[in-house]
């Protein structure tokens, strides 16, 4: 084992290396993150291949993740064109991922307290008093590449996410609620909001 392998293994075994964060996903077709960290050689070919310039790289502040590719959904979600999957030389991104249906890099969730359609439905059902502040929007539905499969409108109004969701993050990019979007993607491997540690979404919006 060379000295380089030693350094690599040491870094990859670093206990705080995986800083999962809401709305930060690996490229489509990425293998489980433990394996991904072992396989990714930070060559940036996927970043180069992305025609939408959606893939970014982790900076030096992110411990051992430095240089690994990310999707930063609040700015730009993945368009699921699959140009990055075929260029990965190590298999960190599985090159057999060619269809958008195969992708599972995360799962979108909706913040029912800020999503306008949720509020609208609550006023409609009488749960909330009408104040004139309710506005209808179908942006997450309209932008979803798997419209009506990964997301549908329950009762024609409440955006509801199914297990077909790929986690591409386009809905996050296009959600008109700002600055904190009413929809967010929990990346694959991130356990859930509760155990997501420092980056707990609810904490971020001041709920806890």
């Amino acid at each position: 084992m060379s000295i380089f392998d030693n350094i690599k293994n040491a870094l990859n075994s670093f206990p705080v290396k995986s800083t999962y964060k809401i709305n930060r996903m690996r490229p489509p077709g990425s293998v489980d993150d433990d394996l991904f960290m072992k396989l990714c050689i930070r060559c940036a070919r996927c970043v180069e291949a992305c025609p939408y310039r959606v893939l970014r790289r982790s900076s030096a502040t992110k411990n051992a993740e430095i240089g690994t590719p990310y999707i930063y959904a609040e700015v730009a979600g993945c368009q699921l064109c699959m140009k990055c999957t075929s260029v990965c030389p190590t298999g960190a991104i599985d090159s057999s991922t060619v269809e958008m249906h195969q992708v599972a890099i995360g799962v979108a969730r909706i913040n029912e307290d800020t999503c306008m359609n949720h509020l609208y439905a609550k006023v409609e059902s009488g749960e909330l008093e009408p104040t004139g502040n309710m506005a209808l929007c179908n942006s997450c539905l309209n932008t979803c590449p798997l419209k009506d499969e990964a997301i549908y409108l329950k009762d024609g109004i409440i955006p509801t996410i199914t297990d077909k969701c790929t986690g591409c993050g386009l809905c996050v990019e296009r959600c008109p609620i700002t600055p904190i979007k009413a929809i967010y993607v929990v990346p694959k491997n991130m356990p859930d909001e509760e155990t997501a540690g420092y980056y707990n979404y609810l904490k971020r919006i001041g709920k806890k």
Partner: protein
């Protein structure tokens, strides 16, 4: 983790060493594209927190939404003389409980966009240069007078909009038709509502629906066709879908080529290839009569069967014989709609007890749009679904003031106030005497021209420079619309707009402004106020909320200045008024006086009443104590029945329902052939049918909504939706860039692979301003022979791949700098 690519290269070096990857890194030095998006971000965050609930305001000013034809009633929040928020009016009758959509909620933001035009511009040596109001208006005056003298009064045209206020449209109409004695004035409702107008006029003899939105909650069956209500009229759609949810027994039928969100609530989706749905309507009529579901009593009392060409009356038997061809099997063959669905739809339509039809551009923007409208009316007549709660043949309007401002004030080439054709002599004489045309007109004929002017498409084909002898129209004044993007087959019309003396009144740089000789900066709706009338005959006053942006002027003021300079100072009595609100009130009073003795009467809707009302007023409303009319043509509801003589109608005393628009009080049931003869057909070379439409986040040409950060981000560019099987055949995958080409023009668009459209049918939203994504370069300029409305919904195209995915979500808008160049980049 968010780092630019330039930094990225530096960190990569460190990273690769640290991670001991052992591979060389193939990063080329490039500009950092990731920073582009962050450059747009600050705007979004600065305006972001301004939701109505969090914003403190000094006062809320009543108004109506600037967007679609629903006519949502709103309050504009004003703080320190600036708009800061919009909230819905919870008392509203249109947007019940004060619901709004994402566009309406954010529309106030455009008023403070840095692109707002603030000074008049005059084109000198190809460049639009700032000028004073006086210079610009003097130039307009000189040119108009010169053309009037050299080429006649019909050489100067006006092209208005369903987004001008009623007062503005009425004033321009009065100036042109009476003052100049020229009917050379049209408006963009010609591109959206003209077929519905002609449909109502030919079937009922009087424009606009009999019912109102209230019918939604009374209907037992709702037939939606040619309308993606969920995107184009989201608030109405929500009314429909929540009603459906509470009343699952209500049947919803949707007839459309695409399985849109609207059809998600439907019990029955009837697919139809673009352009063929008339066969479905005739097929449904056949089924209804064959199964004896028709309403014999209603037919006997209220139907007049008429030959397809409208020439003479026919009998019921002739009608039955005529529609016999449209068997369900034949319909299936022609339209692609399963025969069983036609039967089912016919049964629900006829037997529900109260059926409401809703349609929009899918029927109107067609080469046989008027006939499509007639055939829907036919279904309602033979089943007796008119004049009772929940039953109506209801056309949805696309623009907020197309009904109130343009149809009712008659601001189209063939109409006069009251939506009566200019060819009807008694009415023309009435308007002439009311306006005192003989006294004031600058035209030596001293009369309103009895010959209709040119409808929009013909108007712009006849528009040209002084050196073009075959183009009789030399100048056009364009207000609040963007024909250089909205006309079909743009390659044909763009040079005409450029060569003529074109004056554009707008708040932002647009494609039309790029071609203009003079650009006048307008005030925004909430900076001036005015009346808007929505689809359901409801007029609602928007009060002036804030002072206009410095340098801008209301269209009404501009109209008055032109009137004054053209020698019509006394004719337009409000032209000397200083205060824009008083000016509008005087124009409104003049208007309601003019139409007081028509069925469109708003005589009871005085400014005072409109100011106080939180719900608006539905015509006919003959007096201030009249509550407004929910149902027309029904005794006890429609005030016309109280005193028909006053309105020039003869209604038998015993009639409880009478369609007074036609002399015999009966509705025409036309034997209209379903074949779309004039529409473009697919061919070997152009094998796909392309249709166009709206999305919820954008409005028209995106001049406003592409400048609202939230809505621009939600729909940043156009795309083409292609069926998954077609995509496979063409070897296309999601995001690939394709050339979409018709015989007229081409676009380069990204592909969205979908399974909700019919095979062979593709769809492009119409809002993008980018030169190679403006879909109207492709669209067919075939027009309906009666209404003059173009066929935007059926164009034959071919699709070829040009490249793999590319980033095109640029939220493109025309900038001020681009106004100097007439090329559409």
């Amino acid at each position: 983790m968010d780092i630019s690519r330039r930094n990225l290269i530096k960190t990569t070096l460190a990273a690769s060493a640290a991670a001991a990857a052992g591979l060389t890194i193939g990063c080329k030095k490039k500009e950092a594209p990731q920073t582009e998006t962050s450059a747009q971000a600050p705007q979004a965050t600065t305006t972001a927190a301004a939701t109505p609930s969090t914003v403190a305001v000094d006062n809320w000013v009543k108004g109506v939404c600037r967007m679609c034809g629903t006519g949502c009633s709103i309050y504009v929040g004003v703080k320190d003389g600036k708009m800061v928020a919009i909230k819905g009016n919870v008392d509203s009758k249109t947007n019940t409980k004060g619901f709004l959509c994402i566009k309406g909620m954010n529309i106030w933001k455009v008023a403070y966009h840095p692109d707002r035009l603030t000074t008049p511009l005059i084109r000198k040596n190809g460049k639009l240069e700032p000028a004073t109001w006086d210079e610009a208006l003097t130039l307009i005056e000189t040119k108009f007078k010169e053309f009037h003298k050299k080429y006649g009064y019909d050489s100067v045209a006006y092209y208005g909009s369903g987004q001008c206020t009623t007062e503005e449209s009425y004033t321009f109409n009065k100036i042109w038709k009476g003052g100049f004695g020229s009917n050379m004035m049209d408006g963009n409702p010609r591109l959206c509502m003209a077929s519905a107008v002609a449909g109502y006029l030919s079937s009922f003899g009087s424009d606009e629906p009999a019912g109102a939105y209230e019918d939604i909650e009374n209907a037992k069956c709702i037939f939606i066709t040619g309308s993606n209500t969920s995107e184009a009229h989201p608030i109405l759609f929500r009314r429909i879908s929540s009603y459906k949810r509470q009343n699952p027994n209500v049947k919803i039928i949707v007839c459309e080529p695409r399985k849109t969100q609207t059809s998600k609530i439907a019990d029955l989706w009837m697919p139809s290839l673009p352009g063929t749905d008339l066969a479905i309507f005739n097929g449904m009529a056949r089924e209804i009569i064959k199964n004896d579901w028709h309403n014999k009593e209603f037919i006997a009392r209220h139907a007049r069967f008429t030959q397809g060409d409208g020439s003479q009356a026919a009998t019921f038997d002739e009608y039955i014989k005529f529609i016999d061809k449209y068997t369900p099997e034949y319909v299936e063959k022609v339209t692609g709609c399963p025969a069983a669905s036609v039967k089912q739809a016919a049964e629900w339509f006829a037997k529900s007890g109260a059926t409401l039809s809703l349609w929009c551009m899918g029927l109107n923007q067609r080469s046989n749009g008027v006939w499509a409208n007639n055939l829907i009316h036919n279904l309602h007549v033979i089943t007796g679904n008119i004049g009772k709660p929940g039953a109506d043949s209801f056309s949805l309007t696309g623009q907020p003031n197309a009904c109130g401002g343009v149809r009712e004030t008659g601001s189209l080439a063939h109409l006069l106030p009251g939506c009566k054709p200019v060819t009807i002599e008694p009415w023309r004489k009435h308007v002439e005497s009311y306006w005192k045309v003989a006294e004031h007109s600058i035209n030596p004929s001293k009369a309103i021209n009895p010959k209709p002017g040119f409808p929009a498409v013909k108007l712009f084909s006849s528009l040209g420079g002084e050196n073009e002898a075959d183009k009789p129209v030399k100048a056009v004044l364009i207000s609040t619309t963007n024909p250089a993007q909205t006309l079909p087959n743009l390659n044909k019309f763009v040079p005409n707009i450029k060569n003529a003396f074109t004056v554009v009144i707008d708040i932002f740089p647009t494609r039309t402004a790029q071609l203009a000789s003079v650009v006048l900066p307008a005030s925004f709706l909430y900076e001036k106020g005015g009346v808007y009338g929505c689809s359901e005959r409801r007029s609602f006053l928007t009060q002036k909320a804030i002072e206009p942006l410095e340098g801008t002027r209301a269209d009404l003021w501009i109209a008055c200045q032109i009137a004054k300079r053209m020698g019509l100072e006394k004719y337009i009595a409000w032209s000397n008024e200083e205060d824009i609100v008083k000016m509008a009130e005087m124009a409104w009073n003049d208007y309601i006086g003019c139409t007081a003795n028509t069925e469109k009467t708003l005589a009871g809707a005085t400014y005072k009443r409109l100011k106080e009302s939180t719900t608006g007023v539905q015509w006919p409303c003959p007096s201030e104590d009249h509550p407004g009319t929910y149902k027309r043509y029904v005794k006890g509801m429609d005030p016309i029945f109280d005193d028909p003589k006053r309105y020039g109608y003869n209604i038998p005393a015993d009639a409880d329902m009478f369609f007074y628009g036609r002399p015999d009080g009966k509705i025409n049931v036309f034997m209209r052939d379903a074949e779309p003869k004039a529409s473009e057909k697919i061919s070997k070379e152009y094998p796909f049918l392309m249709t166009t439409g709206r999305v919820i986040e954008q409005w028209h040409t995106g001049t406003m909504t592409m400048r609202i950060p939230e809505t621009a981000a939600a729909h940043p560019n156009s795309y083409i939706e292609i069926h998954v099987n077609d995509a496979k055949k063409l070897g296309l995958s999601q995001g690939d860039m394709v050339k979409v080409e018709s015989v007229r023009g081409e676009n380069i668009l990204p592909v969205r692979v979908v399974n909700m459209t019919l095979e062979g049918v593709c769809f492009v939203p119409m809002h993008d301003q980018k030169g190679n994504r403006m879909v109207n370069f492709i669209c067919s300029d075939v027009v309906d022979a009666t209404s003059g409305e173009p066929d935007y919904k059926v164009s034959a195209v071919k699709i070829t791949k040009v490249s793999g995915p590319q980033k095109v979500d640029d939220r493109y808008v025309v900038t001020k700098a681009e106004l100097d160049s007439p090329t559409f980049s």
